[in-house]
């Protein structure tokens, strides 16, 4: 320990700037390492993994994220399936409605589709 302190003293005497920069870089590295750890803890909770519908999402992206066929989302947004790239925010503005109302509409369609699918599966089982 005394040897380490001795070395640091020696370096501090002659290389203040370099030692300071090194300590700073080390601190920044540690900061990012701790943040990695906090992300890991946060995302380990399955409740944090559901991706809510956001204004930037396109109908196809929502369909991909929620594992439903793209036409389900497109129709809930009042669009023709297979149209050009457009986002929830764009559609809400065009339709003169709030993003929240549009998101609720899409969610309802997704849940309805899932319920239908679950029913179809039950019917198929003897």
């Amino acid at each position: 320990m005394t040897r380490v302190i001795g070395t640091l003293k020696l370096l501090w005497r002659d290389n203040k700037l370099l030692l300071g920069a090194f300590a700073l870089a080390l601190a920044v590295t540690l900061f990012f390492a701790l943040r990695s750890l906090s992300f890991w803890i946060y995302w380990a909770d399955p409740a944090h993994r559901n991706q809510a519908i956001e204004p930037w999402m396109t109908p196809r992206y929502i369909a991909h994220s929620w594992h439903v066929p793209p036409p389900v989302v497109a129709e809930a947004m009042g669009l023709k399936p297979g149209g050009p790239r457009i986002t929830v925010a764009d559609v809400a503005e065009d339709e003169d409605m709030t993003v929240e109302a549009l998101v609720a509409q899409i969610m309802a369609a997704i849940l309805a589709h899932r319920a239908e699918r679950a029913e179809a599966r039950e019917d198929r089982q003897p």
């Binding site: 993994r49 991706q51 991909h64």
Partner: protein, 202 residues
């Protein structure tokens, strides 16, 4: 903030990626890695074309690096002027140039993807210290291909978890860059310490 960025990618597609890759290779603080992740996610959903996204990002990055390299080359004249004005500095400058000429291409390669925040500096230094253009371009283009495919591929693979991947990727990139800087400074400190110890012993 990332929501606005994702919205921009949805609006402008591959063109936005080309411009932002170009700028971020020139030290303009644009969150290009996030944009590439979003680009990959939109490829997975079927909103963007994989070939277009990768080509646009890669061409933008290579063009940005070339610009940085040539700016460095113009700055090389300054190094020459320093060497003629203060001849005592000439050996140091020559030594630095020799080092970059010998090992520079590896630095260029890794600075494009593994420690990408250092990339713009490395391009400039490579140009200023006279690393050959062909060698620079070859390693740079190869490294940028890894960088672009890595981020776009990550966005594609984790398209339904974009916010999570964005957080983790930005953090990891910061961790690697800060670690590389700490390692480099530590190396310099060790050399100084050894010199000091040798001087004390004699």
């Amino acid at each position: 903030m990332s929501d606005t960025l994702f919205q921009l990618v949805a609006d402008y597609g591959a063109w936005l990626l080309a411009v932002s890759c170009f700028l971020s290779c020139l030290l303009v603080p644009v969150p290009t890695s996030l944009l590439m992740l979003a680009g990959g996610a939109f490829v997975a959903s079927g909103d963007l074309d994989m070939g277009n996204v990768i080509a646009a990002a890669w061409l933008g990055a290579v063009a940005g690096d070339q610009t940085g390299y040539h700016l460095g080359r113009c700055g090389a004249g300054m190094l020459d002027r320093i060497a003629t004005r203060w001849p005592s500095r000439k050996p140091t400058i020559d030594k630095a140039r020799a080092l970059v000429a010998q090992r520079g291409s590896m630095g260029v390669f890794f600075s494009t993807w593994l420690v990408s925040p250092l990339g713009p500096y490395v391009n400039f230094v490579a140009g200023a210290s006279g690393l050959g253009w062909r060698q620079f371009t070859l390693w740079d283009a190869a490294g940028e291909a890894i960088w672009v495919c890595g981020y776009v591929g990550l966005g594609y693979g984790f398209a339904d978890q974009l916010s999570m991947v964005a957080d983790v990727a930005a953090n990891t990139s910061g961790l690697l860059a800060a670690g590389a800087v700490a390692l480099g400074l530590g190396w310099m400190l060790r050399a100084r310490w050894r010199k000091a110890r040798a001087a004390a012993a004699s």
